[in-house]
């Protein structure tokens, strides 16, 4: 069953805290992450299914999967001196691949890919101790053509149904965004107004409208990673978002959000 749903930023500056960053802003995002951690402790999930967009780390141009599931016993990743290793909830991961394929999603699965920082930056701050087993779910966000927002939403809806039929208590977490433009002239000028309008929509429970945005719009708004959120929205339906924080830094719209779910 799906017991919780969250979305959050993963900018590495939150972890590495270089001197380019506004200390107070970063600490406010850390405080929002700490709230997520407390919620996870209260929700007691058997697994965290985490939807993140690979930053051309696990998958290079040798093969570019639109949607993938990590199905192994554990996963690990490194960024500079930061090193992470998490257990994978293998039975659940395998069930998601099998049920997803059965429903017509041509999923890639991997037992070998390294874990991207989009996964472990939020988990650094939110993972309860001992570690809750993870099911990493990849959505291609950086290598066009990416899956359409509509397809992401449909995959999320299927994920919600599959998880709903399982006995495990599962938290869904989307990692990504909000507006940022790494490697471009726009890096220091994200589209914060776009983010704020979007958060208003999500707070009003109008998330299904996001299934209709275009790839072009996401690219223009610096929100290609929003595909991970849109996937999650397919699973949470019309639940209203509780925005823990929205902290626009000089390069990034940092949001942390929960969709409180009615658990039956």
């Amino acid at each position: 069953m799906l017991v919780g749903a969250f979305a959050c930023a993963h900018t590495p500056q939150l972890l590495a805290r270089p001197e380019t960053e506004d200390r107070e802003l970063v600490l406010r995002v850390h405080a929002a992450f700490a709230r997520v951690k407390r919620r996870l402790e209260a929700l007691r999930p058997d697994a965290i299914a985490m939807i993140a967009g690979d930053h051309i780390e696990a998958f290079f141009l040798s093969a570019v999967p639109a949607l993938a599931v990590y199905v192994g016993t554990e996963c690990a990743g490194t960024f500079g001196r930061y090193r992470y290793r998490f257990p994978i909830h293998e039975p659940l991961a395998r069930a998601l691949v099998e049920a997803g394929i059965e429903r017509g999603f041509d999923l890639v699965y991997t037992q070998d890919a390294p874990l991207d920082y989009a996964f472990y930056v939020p988990l650094h701050f939110t993972m309860p101790e001992p570690s809750v087993p993870l099911v990493p779910l990849h959505v291609n966000v950086y290598l066009p053509p990416q899956p359409t927002p509509k397809r992401c939403y449909e995959w999320g809806r299927a994920l919600g149904e599959i998880l709903g039929s399982r006995s495990e208590r599962v938290v869904l977490m989307a990692s990504g965004g909000m507006s940022h433009f790494p490697g471009t002239d726009r890096y220091a000028s994200p589209e914060f107004d776009y983010d704020r309008r979007l958060l208003d929509l999500l707070s009003a429970g109008r998330s299904r409208e996001l299934a209709a945005v275009t790839a072009e719009e996401l690219d223009r708004a610096g929100n290609i990673e929003l595909r991970t959120w849109i996937t999650l929205l397919g699973a949470v339906g019309d639940a209203k978002a509780d925005v823990y924080c929205y902290e626009p830094s000089w390069h990034h719209g940092n949001a942390v959000v929960e969709w409180p779910l009615a658990i039956t």
């Binding site: 805290r17 780390e57 290079f60 471009t184 690219d219």
Partner: protein, 89 residues
């Protein structure tokens, strides 16, 4: 797409080199020791090699490099070359 475009096959070797600079510690060390030899290893042509040596982002992107790979390859090199202060607070 305005910001992130389809990576053209003509830029495959360039993107492979940037990917290695980003994610392969051993390659990054070889590049720092002898950039030209490392770029020969990646079979870069002269124009790609020149743009990469000069660190010209716009030229690299114009040649088909993925902007995120250019950004992160540069960051990872700077993280090792300079004493970037991490965990500043």
């Amino acid at each position: 797409m305005v910001h992130y475009r389809f990576p053209p096959a003509s830029a495959y070797r360039l993107n492979r080199c940037l990917f290695a600079l980003k994610s392969d510690d051993a390659f990054r060390s070889r590049f720092r020791a002898d950039a030209r030899a490392a770029m020969r290893e990646m079979e870069l042509d002269d124009a790609d090699a020149a743009a990469l040596l000069r660190g010209e982002r716009d030229a690299l992107v114009a040649r088909g490099a993925h902007p995120y790979l250019v950004f992160m390859a540069d960051l990872r090199l700077r993280m090792e070359r300079e004493a970037v202060t991490f965990e500043y607070f």
